[in-house]
């Protein structure tokens, strides 16, 4: 008889919803139904049972086709590639567990590779800003229970984090926010009228690329200084009005996304938004939070930060020291400048997200992709190693966008014989040890 598994963690976005209910077949092999999840989260569970899933490694042949190989052959090929390469890019990690990352970093240390995660094309600029000026942040629980002014700046949770608004930021009734939506004033700052803007009390349309100027104007207004008539298309009176309203907040929070991190100025937009948050703390309690995308990209930053002191783009090629420089040790720059000799991708799909030039450069190098699915990256790889779906077929630690660690749950068994990320990486690490002991570099 089918059974229900409750309190399942959704491994899709950084919101890490923890109230998913999954119906599982009595042999523990198939997911029959998903409750509470958003459409994207439900699909993440549902495609576990879709036919055509790759269950054995595939190696590229001379004629361009893939041939099935054993896990042992795949592990040996990967280890040899890592040991031979003078500089390897090990990119991804955002959709696997922190335990698997830790083993991966050990391999990177031994082989002198560069470890980078999806922040490099996402919230990396936020991380640079945090390195520069720090961050006054909070947990999503505090937002739910306390926030009465919520600003969505350059982000669209209605599409990217579908349950964020109902679980934390707009609608829920919390301890000090018993009126729910009615007790909160929601601002949305964007260059487009998004679906999130439809949920906001006030939509401020900023001219594209003028976020820094507008934030600068907010800070200037907060100090009571004069402003030009309009800034980024927003009238001066509106800026003063909003700033005065924010000062009246009991608890304010700014959520920001790609609209700030990937428009002109990048890290500087976040930097000045953090400084506005700091300024607001002269009047009330204010916090700021990045809307992290992949469900465990925050975890990758946490593990790298704990082990090497940098949250992404960590260059371990000198082995005795970790280095980090956005623009130098970041994946896209490494590929565009052909600074690496081999590529190792795990738990992400750079083929779908990186600039074309970077992927053309990548396709010319020996490439291994570890991913449960066939995706754009596997199709330009020399070797595709399938693994179990973390958060569905195997558990492991993940970090929510507010840096709260949550242990994900195993719901069903992986297909027979398919290794988990941890098992696979442990075997690669062991093979690397053997090769190095045998005289590899």
């Amino acid at each position: 008889m089918p059974k229900e598994v409750t309190d399942v963690i959704c491994p899709f976005c950084g919101t890490l919803c923890d109230d998913i209910v999954i119906t599982v077949s009595d042999d523990n092999k198939t997911i029959l139904g998903v409750k509470n999840a958003c459409a994207i989260g439900a699909e993440k569970f549902n495609h576990q049972r879709e036919p055509g899933r790759v269950t054995r490694p595939r190696m590229r042949q001379a004629d361009g086709t893939f041939k099935e190989v054993s896990y042992d052959e795949a592990i040996d090929w990967t280890a040899k590639m890592l040991v031979k390469s003078r500089k390897t890019l090990m990119y991804g990690w955002a959709s696997t567990s922190c335990q698997a990352m830790s083993i991966g970093h050990e391999i990177a240390e031994k082989t002198g590779a560069i470890v980078d995660n999806c922040a490099t094309v996402c919230h990396g600029s936020s991380l640079i800003a945090i390195e520069d000026v720090g961050v006054p942040s909070c947990t999503l629980g505090e937002v739910k229970n306390r926030a009465d002014r919520v600003i969505f700046w350059g982000c669209n949770p209605a599409h990217a984090h579908p349950r964020h608004m109902s679980r934390y930021s707009i609608f829920p009734r919390g301890f000090f926010t018993v009126k729910g939506h009615k007790g909160r004033k929601i601002y949305c700052v964007d260059c487009r009228y998004t679906d999130t803007a439809k949920c906001a009390d006030e939509f401020i349309q900023v001219q594209q690329g003028f976020d820094y100027e507008l934030l600068n104007a907010f800070r200037t207004a907060a100090r009571g200084e004069a402003l030009p008539d309009t800034v980024g298309g927003v009238p001066r009176e509106k800026i003063y009005e909003i700033v005065e309203d924010l000062k009246q907040a009991r608890f304010g929070v700014i959520f920001f996304g790609m609209g700030l991190t990937h428009s002109m100025g990048r890290n500087h937009n976040i930097d000045i938004a953090i400084n506005l948050t700091r300024d607001m703390n002269d009047y009330t309690k204010f916090a700021i939070m990045a809307m992290r995308g992949h469900w465990n990209v925050t975890g990758s930053g946490q593990v790298l930060g704990w082990q090497y002191g940098f949250p992404y783009a960590v260059d371990l090629s000198r082995r005795d020291q970790a280095r980090h420089q956005t623009g130098e040790t970041t994946s896209v720059d490494l590929l565009n400048r052909s600074e690496v000799e081999a590529c190792f991708y795990i738990a992400t799909d750079p083929g779908a997200h990186f600039p074309v030039d970077a992927m053309i450069s990548s396709s010319r190098k020996p490439t291994v992709t570890i991913d449960p699915h066939i995706n754009c990256t596997t199709e330009i790889s020399d070797l595709h190693i399938p693994v179990a779906l973390v958060g569905v077929e195997v558990g492991g630690c993940a970090y929510r966008m507010d840096n709260v660690p949550i242990e994900t749950r195993k719901v069903v068994e992986p297909p027979e014989g398919v290794l988990t990320d941890e098992e696979l990486l442990t075997k690669i690490s062991k093979r690397v040890d053997e090769l190095i002991a045998g005289g590899g570099t």
């Binding site: 640079i128 600068n216 800070r219 100090r223 402003l227 030009p228 100025g265 930097d271 000045i272 000799e341």
Partner: protein, 266 residues
């Protein structure tokens, strides 16, 4: 002053990291010893002798040593990084971190440089007879202290994020710059002969920026307070004096608030 000449024999396949190529390391060493100094090429550690033909003679101290580098250095990083005395001339374009953390001496690059050059420079003279990339004279990631001393002169254009967190010294840019010049600046002087794109002096606390050309968009945190006649890098002209960034914190001195100044040539 004795001169050591390095001539590149082969262009590295990846990028060669040569932070040991400075008068400080070369001083008092024989040519054989210099040829045995290692750099980094990925995880390999090749010697300088593998990549360069080395001739001449080094001085007894760094101040008495001059290094001339010839050949295509576009794939070489860290040339002249951390040098404290002596002289270096690079007759080529070069890659990242050229002259980074430089403390003294004179470094001349007869070509373009990539990003992060003159990073956190503290002293000496750094002349770039070409264009510069991003983060020229800026702070290292996460540091709040960028260029703090010395003179950095660029003949051509520079990229974005130039002089971020600058705390002292003087930077002269002959051409144009992209966005974010002197962001978070807390001292020092920037002279820009050409045009600036946008966001000049954002979050600036103290320091002076002189712009001879135009700025596409002036930040709302800047306010004109008058006109002044100044002599800047040998040119006498009338400038409009803006104070700012009014959105940023500013220290007080003798009861008066100290603002940063942005001078726009009339």
């Amino acid at each position: 002053m004795n001169t050591v000449t390095l001539t590149l024999k082969k262009v590295p396949e990846l990028y060669l990291e040569c932070e040991q190529v400075t008068p400080d390391t070369f001083a008092g060493k024989t040519l054989d010893q210099i040829a045995g100094i290692t750099g980094y090429h990925g995880k390999e550690m090749p010697t300088m002798g593998e990549y360069f033909t080395i001739t001449g003679e080094s001085g007894a101290t760094a101040a008495e040593t001059k290094i001339v580098v010839n050949g295509d250095c576009t794939k070489i990083k860290y040339l002249g990084a951390k040098m404290t005395a002596g002289e270096m001339v690079i007759n080529s374009a070069c890659d990242m971190y050229t002259g980074a953390w430089m403390k003294g001496g004179k470094l001349t690059v007869n070509g373009d440089v990539h990003s992060f050059c003159g990073l956190a420079m503290a002293g000496g003279e750094f002349i770039i007879n070409g264009n510069a990339g991003n983060y020229l004279g800026a702070a290292y990631r996460g540091d709040w202290r960028g260029m703090s001393g010395g003179v950095l002169r660029v003949k051509g254009n520079a990229g974005s994020d130039v002089a971020t967190f600058m705390t002292g010294g003087e930077m002269i840019i002959g051409g144009d710059v992209d966005i974010h010049l002197g962001t978070h600046m807390e001292g020092g002087k920037i002279i820009l002969k050409g045009d600036a794109n946008r966001r000049i002096g954002g979050q600036l606390v103290k320091g002076e920026i002189y712009v001879f050309g135009t700025i596409n968009v002036m930040l709302p945190g800047y306010k004109p307070v008058g006109e002044v006649e100044l002599e800047v890098d040998g040119t006498k002209a009338k400038f409009v004096d803006y104070i700012g960034d009014l959105g940023e914190r500013h220290p007080k001195r003798k009861g008066e608030t100290v603002y940063g100044h942005l001078y726009m040539k009339k």
